[in-house]
């Protein structure tokens, strides 16, 4: 045998000792390494493994519902599918974008932009598209295995059953913008959150928004959902109860029809906005969707500016409706007494300029009552000139002109109440006395919004007590079922003697019965009102029908009813419709009659002999 001898074997056994020592050393090293991983860095790796397996998915809350004053539903939510992508689980981003673009018929760039939007972690799912059609949703679901990191969630989507009705009041919703996300009041939101972008949806977004919930979804390495681990339920937003009566709102909108303009109806005793129509309008359902750039441009550049709420944002010369304010100012400043007579022969000479009355021959000698009934311009030229612009401005402000009414809609415009100080500041020019004459009949620099005028006539109707216009009367907390009522708030009291107010109201009633607004005369209810025609172009030549429509005058009518105990104040503004008496007054009458028919109890107040406040019984709120 030529193998190893015994000494070799002993040699070998000695070397085995080396192997043993070496083995122990190596295993000790392994143990040390494992101790390092599991004990020293254990918590770190534990965190990593938790993140590895869980994706936190936001559960969008349902927005609160919106009702009208009678509990009729104006805005609700319907289920819809939304597509989310979690970048962490996406292995091939470009490939995924191409796939999604093909499946959903989307622009790849839009998807790319959505994916890179926001600075959230890669673990945070990003919303790529909402309102998927059922077909799209099933298409995605059937390709689920090829689309790691893609998730279809059922969410609630805002729905306005009435479509265009009350669009400017309700507003619409949309994804929170990048700018909004920077702000503190949107801190609890994230990219893809839906917020109110217009109307009460925007003003009351905090209440209506609700609180998002969270679902921790355990996913496997391919991003496929295994099970939901923890669920924090989303909390639905609070419900809003508006002051509007949707039937009246619809009537008001239909009255305007295709015409451009606004109708505002208030309850003068509470400030409740009963209706606020603005035309042209828009469909909030469409705007709540994600619009393409082209669609946006179309809406924004539309000549009718449908997104403009003309009731609060349209600024027009009040025309002769301003004479209501003028009358109160003239009486209160003792410029005239009710019986002061002014001679009107069709014009008013100031310096070398002749200011015409609307009636070429003039009205003869008129007192205040007659001046209002016939809307005599010369009378108001005269008293305006006697008062001076600053006195006019003082009373106009008391009636709330030149200021926000405070209604709960954003971007309210204030109009202009001109004064010497205003002109100095705004134009850096002195006030010219001749300008007072234009202002006296609501022309020149004076501009107002229809809501302001409704508030003015409401203040007169409410005997000088001005109520703040409001759109929301209560908010109901979904969780507790508690209904928080907003009491009506007094905006101010104009310093006009009751006798003066009474005279004005009486005169305005005469306007309807025998003056410029006989077309507002109603068999159902006594109405008081004042017509107005706001000139838009300086040159007025030839008969009305020959003037191109866009240069025609705006028609105004402000009214209140019932005269004895007014419960509704209306302002109608119809753009380029010509004379207030013919174009606007009939609309106001329709609105008032609709209201009276719907709430016959407001008439009982009158028949009971001026017990106007007893009619408040029909309104549950007031405090």
């Amino acid at each position: 045998m030529i193998g190893f001898n015994d000494s070799d074997l002993l040699d070998l056994q000695r070397r085995l000792v080396i192997l043993r020592v070496g083995l122990l050393l190596v295993v000790a090293l392994l143990a040390l390494r494992l101790w390092h991983l599991q004990i020293r860095e254990g918590p770190y790796y534990r965190d990593l493994s938790e993140n590895n397996r869980t994706r936190s998915v936001v559960l969008e809350p349902a927005r609160g519902l919106i009702f009208d004053r009678n509990g009729i539903l104006l805005a609700n939510n319907v289920p819809s599918f939304a597509l989310y992508v979690t970048l962490e689980d996406v292995k091939d981003r470009q490939g995924l974008i191409a796939q999604l673009a093909a499946l959903l018929n989307l622009d790849p760039e839009v998807i790319q932009k959505k994916l890179s939007l926001g600075k959230g972690s890669k673990l945070q799912p990003r919303k790529i598209k909402d309102r998927l059609t059922l077909r799209e949703a099933t298409l995605i679901e059937s390709h689920r295995l090829d689309l790691p990191g893609v998730m279809v969630q059922v969410e609630s989507q805002r729905n306005y059953p009435g479509g265009v009705v009350a669009a400017h009041l309700l507003g619409y919703v949309g994804e929170v913008s990048a700018d909004q996300l920077e702000r503190a009041d949107f801190a609890d939101l994230h990219q893809g959150s839906i917020v109110g972008q217009y109307g009460v949806e925007k003003t009351f977004d905090r209440q209506v928004r609700g609180r998002a919930g969270q679902k921790s979804v355990e996913v496997d390495a391919l991003g496929h959902e295994k099970r939901a681990v923890v669920a924090e339920k989303p909390m639905a937003g609070d419900d809003l109860y508006l002051t509007i009566d949707i039937r009246l709102q619809k009537v008001a909108e239909d009255l305007l029809g295709e015409e451009t303009g606004a109708i505002v109806a208030l309850d003068p005793t509470t400030g409740d906005v009963l209706a606020m129509a603005s035309r042209p309008g828009f469909d909030p359902n469409m705007l709540s969707k994600e619009l393409t750039n082209k669609q946006w441009v179309e809406i924004v550049q539309n000549e009718g500016r449908p997104l403009n709420n003309r009731a609060t944002q349209g600024q027009y010369p009040p025309g002769s409706t301003f004479k209501v304010v003028m009358a109160a100012a003239a009486l209160e400043s003792n410029t005239v007494t009710p019986s002061t007579m002014v001679r009107c022969n069709g014009g008013y000479q100031f310096g070398n300029r002749l200011f015409h009355d609307w009636k070429p021959g003039g009205h003869g000698s008129v007192d205040m009552n007659q001046a209002l009934i016939h809307s005599c311009d010369v009378y108001f030229y005269t008293v305006g000139q006697r008062m001076g612009i600053d006195t006019i401005a003082e009373y106009a402000k008391q009636f709330g002109l030149g200021q926000e009414t405070g209604v709960e809609l954003g971007s309210e415009r204030v109009g202009i109440v001109p004064s010497t100080a205003w002109k100095q500041k705004a134009r850096n020019q002195p006030w010219y006395p001749g300008e007072t004459i234009s202002a006296a009949i609501g022309q020149g620099y004076v501009t107002v919004t229809p809501l302001q005028m409704a508030s003015v006539i409401g203040t007169v109707a409410n005997d000088g007590l001005s109520m703040k216009p409001r759109l929301v009367q209560a908010v109901m907390n979904r969780a507790t079922g508690e209904r928080a009522e907003f009491p009506p708030t007094v905006r101010g009291k104009v310093s006009v003697k009751p006798a003066s107010i009474a005279l004005i109201k009486e005169s305005l009633t005469d306007v309807v019965t025998k003056g410029t607004a006989t077309r507002a005369k109603s068999a159902l209810v006594t109405i008081g009102g004042k017509t107005g025609t706001a000139q838009t172009a300086a040159l007025r030549t030839g008969p009305e029908k020959d003037i191109p429509k866009k240069f025609r005058d705006h028609a105004w009518f402000v009214a209140f009813a019932p005269v004895d105990a007014p419960r509704i104040a209306v302002a109608v503004l119809a753009e380029h419709m010509g004379h207030g008496g013919s174009a606007a007054a009939p609309l106001a009458k329709e609105v008032i009659e609709t209201y009276v028919k719907a709430y016959p109890q407001v008439l009982k107040g009158t028949s009971a002999g001026g017990g106007a406040k007893s009619a408040t019984a029909s309104r549950p709120k007031t405090s």
């Binding site: 074997l9 192997l19 390494r33 254990g42 590895n52 397996r53 390495a221």
Partner: protein, 372 residues
């Protein structure tokens, strides 16, 4: 010759301890495989398959245990020739997986010759060294090196880095056992150092993309968690997140949710570590140390050189696989495909390991004849 004398006393307490350790480690493996794959909806799940492999492995164990190891050693060269042919066959018609051809399909199963090649190499080298005298480094180093070379090249060609390294490890262990003179060792070391850049170049060029990535990932695994370092990092997360006492059976989220790839095969240790924590890890390490200790005992008390070399080679192979596998799952070594003996799922590896252990016990059994 005394090698025909057979001990008739049957199993003693030493044997039972040895077999008991093997059984416990095998159970740990089956349990871990069950834990990772139990949710898979198949009629023949992995843990059941593994039980079949263990059954076949038990037969292999008994065959190797009951036959005379001298006879087995005599078959070493022909067996090596068969293995070389099989390795060549694998290259021609083998089943591919992840760019490597390692398996020969047999019915529904796949046979991995490179696993068996390790054991055959131990037999060949033990046989060789037990017959040649120490007449210089040519006989001790170069000739055995030439024996190793064809198998090594065929395995690296697949490529199977893990088995290739095991091959080299067996060779190195054998050299250590027979005692290389310091002069020869010096020459080898010097040559290795000088040749390293060339060898590295050659090895790097012959590596597949995924292997290069794994080597790169080893250098900096946290660099790109979604990419090349994925395996390494997920394995470290699995082990680390087990902390002291583990997440419990089936509680290993890393493996249950498939973040950890190859959870039932090469990375089964990470699954175990995640579920049983540092405590469980120490227990498993202790089990392996005990098994190796007992095996070294057999090598040390072998009655002849062949037995001692066989035992030492098998122990070295076992040690190498255990250390490299745990080391790679713990992020200490680059990821090379080496299974954890007796624990990882795999037919060829399980049968081969059990056959090796049968051979070991065979060596022990025959040393008792010395006392008669």
């Amino acid at each position: 010759m005394i090698d025909r004398v057979i001990d008739s006393r049957g199993m003693d307490s030493f044997d039972l301890r040895f077999i008991g350790l093997i059984a416990i480690i095998l159970s740990v493996g089956v349990l871990s495989i069950y834990s990772v794959t139990h949710s898979q909806d198949t009629t023949f799940p992995f843990y059941l398959k593994q039980l079949v492999w263990i059954l076949l492995g038990t037969i292999a164990f008994l065959v190797m245990y009951l036959s005379d190891y001298h006879k087995i050693a005599r078959l070493a060269y022909p067996t090596y020739a068969v293995i070389l042919i099989l390795l060549a066959v694998v290259l021609v018609m083998g089943k591919s997986s992840r760019g490597a051809q390692r398996w020969i399909p047999i019915g529904p199963f796949a046979f991995q010759p490179s696993e068996f090649a390790k054991l055959v190499l131990v037999l060949v080298l033990a046989n060789y060294y037990s017959r040649v005298s120490r007449v210089g480094w040519l006989q001790r180093v170069v000739v055995p090196g030439l024996i190793v070379l064809p198998g090594l090249l065929l395995i690296l060609k697949q490529p199977d880095l893990g088995s290739g390294l095991s091959f080299l490890a067996v060779y190195a262990a054998m050299l250590l056992m027979v005692g290389v003179r310091s002069k020869a060792l010096g020459i080898i070391l010097l040559l290795s150092v000088m040749l390293f850049p060339f060898v590295w170049e050659m090895v790097w060029a012959s590596l597949h993309d995924y292997q290069r990535q794994r080597v790169m990932a080893f250098v900096d695994p946290d660099y790109d968690p979604g990419g090349k370092g994925y395996h390494a990092l997920q394995s470290k997360i699995a082990i680390g997140s087990g902390e002291l006492s583990g997440k419990g059976l089936y509680g290993g989220t890393q493996s249950q949710l498939k973040f950890l790839p190859e959870g039932h095969t090469d990375f089964v240790f990470a699954v175990y570590a995640e579920e049983w924590g540092f405590v469980g890890v120490l227990v498993l390490l202790a089990l392996f140390i005990a098994l190796i200790w007992v095996s070294l005992e057999i090598a040390a008390r072998a009655k002849d050189t062949l037995g001692a070399l066989l035992a030492a080679g098998i122990v070295a192979m076992l040690c190498f696989c255990v250390v490299v596998n745990i080391g790679m799952t713990a992020g200490m070594f680059p990821i090379v495909g080496i299974p954890l003996p007796l624990v990882s799922y795999g037919g060829s590896a399980t049968i081969m390991t059990m056959a090796s252990l049968g051979l070991l016990l065979n060596v022990k059994r025959r040393r008792l004849t010395l006392f008669y």
